[in-house]
Amino acid sequence: MKKLINGIKNLVIGLLTTGKHLGRHAITIQYPTQKWEMPERSRGIVVLLSDKETGELNCTTCLLCEKACPSSAIKIVYEKDEKGKRHLKDFIVDHGLCCFCGLCEEACNFSAIKLATKYEFSTYTKDDLLWHTNKLQEVGRDVPYEKVERKKPEAKPAAPQPTTATPSKPIAEKQSAKTGEAISPAEPEKNPELGEGAKPQEDK
């Protein structure tokens, strides 16, 4: 009998608990008309950033982001001039492959690539997820960022061989030299790794 009364009491308590919420305001929002303010660090679509004054891309075609990408979503097409300097031809980001981890943004030394806070970019076909330089730049125009002017590695123009495009070498060495503990320096040997396998290597 006591059990019964207790049970009924608790059933009523349950009803009151849900009833308490009945009069409260909804915590959800009406999405397409109302939008959530994304936190500043939110990782949305990948965009290319341009210089505020000149309007040119910050990208120096160092290929660090392409290397850092775990899902091979970035593809950089470039050509080399006589001095071995790379010129960007096309910067392709496949948002269908992208896992929005932000490693490319961290790898970049020139504030050239960023995961913007924008998130609405669904398309009807998969091909539309493949963004080229123009679109990446256009979407990235109004993305606020602070340009981190890192010292350009001096060794950069003297890239060892034209075929092994590994500009990560000097930076990696520099970093490991600073910490100097338990970190093996990154040899720029030609690893048959995934990032490089997907690279176009357009030499002319």
Binding site: T18, H21, L22, T28
Partner: protein, 347 residues
């Protein structure tokens, strides 16, 4: 403003128009049927929307907001969508059974309203065995659920159909026995006379302590079980049987089950209003407003249950009915009989 007067006036003018009496009666009956059907269809659509709104607000959401004022036309949009959808008939179903099940569910859900008074004089037919008729008709739903479960040729559906059969049969007993004290005191089976027996508020059967409230609680519990709603929604337990008996149904057939379910819920609450809460009785407002208001309060109660409680297990469900509700309702009947006989309480 009593609606009954308007209908009476219409009937009178029809009778005075010179048609033979047979035709007048036929037209009046068909019109009454259509009106009840139309009203109930609107109520069912409204209830679906209301349920979504109640659940949304309990869960601090908005619920449907886009179609019409606060999404009030959402159910109509959904119904149109369901009509347009392809009506899939799986290959190995028992075709006639599969086809007829939703129709029976739909028709059975509406038939009960022949004998339910919506307001003073607002009743299709004041049967002198009204309550008996309603109980018989509402049990009809179980046949359709069983048919759906069997006809679908699906194991989940079969389990769901069997569960619903077992459940409805078990809960029919306490439900009927809990109604008996009312009949005992009202001395009639006619719904209208039962309502008239509760003219004053203290005469409402729910306030006739001790048997009234107990009977009311038993009736509401059994009614919840009968309409397959949480915490007794085992026949369509989503997490166990996917969708139970209507797992194979789609399109308009599914919509028919769905609407029938909501009409059934309204039926149970309407009967409870008539039997326990004085039906249409109430001051100031027109009688049909009172009836609707009281019924909707009960409907809200059922919705509140649904969005609060977990679900019972099938054996616990049976145990609760046979080991608790049935003895309690019989004890209640005995108390009521004793009270009636001793004339201690002569309302």
């Amino acid at each position: 403003m009593e609606l009954a007067n308007i209908f009476k006036y219409l009937y009178q003018s029809l009778a005075n128009s010179g048609l033979p009496q047979v035709w007048v009666d036929i037209i009046a009956l068909v019109a009454a049927g259509l009106i009840v059907f139309g009203v109930l269809a609107v109520i069912a659509l409204f209830l679906v929307w209301w349920e979504r709104k109640v659940s949304a607000h309990i869960q601090q959401r908005f619920g449907p907001m886009r179609t019409g004022w606060h999404g009030v036309l959402q159910t109509i949009a959904d119904a149109i969508k369901l009509i347009q959808k392809e009506d899939i008939t799986p290959t190995n179903v028992d075709r006639p059974v599969f086809y007829w099940a939703p129709i029976i569910a739909f028709v059975a859900a509406f038939l009960a309203y022949i004998a339910i008074p919506f307001g003073k004089g607002l009743i299709v037919s004041d049967l002198n065995i009204g309550i008996l008729f309603i109980i018989a008709i509402t049990t009809f739903t179980i046949i359709s659920l069983l048919m759906a479960g069997w006809g679908s040729n699906n194991k989940y559906a079969l389990l769901g159909g069997m569960r619903s059969a077992a459940q409805v049969v078990s809960y029919e007993v306490p439900m009927v026995v809990s109604i008996l004290p009312i009949i005992l005191f009202a001395g009639t089976l006619s719904m209208v006379e039962i309502v008239e027996a509760q003219a004053k508020i203290y005469q409402w059967f729910i306030f006739r302590v001790p048997f009234g409230p107990i009977a009311f609680i038993i009736y509401i519990i059994a009614g919840t079980a009968e309409t397959n709603r949480t915490p007794f929604d085992l026949p369509e337990a989503e997490q166990e049987l996917v969708a139970g008996f209507n797992v194979e149904y789609s399109g308009m057939k599914f919509a028919m089950f769905f609407l029938a379910e909501f009409v059934n819920m309204f039926t149970v609450c309407a009967i409870a209003t008539t039997l326990f809460l004085g039906g249409w009785q109430g001051p100031f407002l027109p009688s049909w407003v009172w009836f609707l208001g009281k019924t909707l309060v009960l409907v809200f109660l059922l919705m509140w249950f649904r969005w609060t409680y977990p679900r019972l297990r099938v054996d616990q469900l049976m145990e609760f009915s046979w080991k608790f509700l049935v003895p309690l309702s019989f004890a209640n009947l005995i108390i009521a009989g004793f009270m009636k006989h001793s004339k201690w309480f002569n309302w």
